[in-house]
């Protein structure tokens, strides 16, 4: 019954340089954001290292390049300062930065991917942290 599912070569057309530009511009805005800035500042000591890691994450997710071996869910869960309500702001800022820095079709594809990942992380945090016996988060 098992069938081989071929991995797609990449999720959408974007260059490593475009990803790098987006990451750089996005975190520049994160650092001065009233809501997210303090959360990130408390968690990240080495911004160049963080941006390099995030760049590898996106290159892995979109371009299927090796390099990122982290566990995003665990990282977000282990930081109790990260709340589900932070994700909409993060995603809004990301989409806006993508629209500023990338071609419209690339920006849309990138932001849509971020939405799906962000929502997955947000639901995961809600489910892991919810009181025992409370209804599960389904959407």
């Amino acid at each position: 019954m098992a069938q081989v599912q071929r991995a797609r070569p990449h999720m959408f057309d974007v260059t490593p340089e475009e990803i790098s530009r987006l990451v750089c511009c996005f975190y520049a805005r994160i650092r001065v954001d009233n809501v997210l800035g303090p959360v990130f500042s408390a968690a990240i000591e080495d911004w160049p290292a963080h941006e390099a890691k995030i760049l590898a994450f996106w290159r892995g997710a979109i371009l299927r390049e090796p390099g990122y071996e982290g566990n995003p869910m665990q990282v977000h869960l282990s930081n109790s300062e990260i709340l589900p309500e932070h994700f909409p702001r993060w995603l809004e800022l990301f989409r806006d930065t993508a629209n500023r820095e990338l071609k419209p079709e690339t920006a849309a594809a990138f932001a849509n991917l971020a939405d799906r990942i962000g929502n997955g992380l947000s639901y995961g945090i809600e489910n892991f942290r919810k009181p025992e016996g409370a209804p599960p988060v389904l959407a």
């Binding site: 019954m1 599912q5 995003p72 665990q74 997955g120 639901y123 995961g124 489910n127 389904l138």
Partner: protein, 96 residues
């Protein structure tokens, strides 16, 4: 760790998959029967999780997601992935 399932749900089976062993059935719309909840748990890589009338989500390594009894859903491997589906049965207290 709080379990993201209804109180009283009892785990009774787990199925493990990779991008190479993911059956066609799971990649197409399907659902569990009444009373059966599922929990996706991704060990490595990432999995696209689709549910009827809900936004798609990507479950990253270390993450989980829940589907409710009879909820139409499907999954897609986004590159190399290892994940499991943990099935839970909701105990019915008012059964005859």
């Amino acid at each position: 760790m709080a379990e993201a399932l209804p109180k009283g749900a009892v785990h009774y089976a787990t199925s493990r998959f990779t991008q190479d062993t993911l059956p066609e059935k799971l990649r197409k719309d399907h659902s569990t029967k009444a009373g059966v909840w599922g929990q996706l748990a991704v060990q490595s890589g990432r999995l696209l999780f689709r549910r009827e009338d809900k936004a798609e989500v990507i479950v990253e390594a270390g993450g989980t997601a829940i589907f409710a009894p009879q909820e139409i859903h499907s999954v897609e491997a986004l590159g190399a992935v290892e994940f499991e589906v943990r099935f839970h049965r909701q105990e019915v207290s008012d059964a005859t």
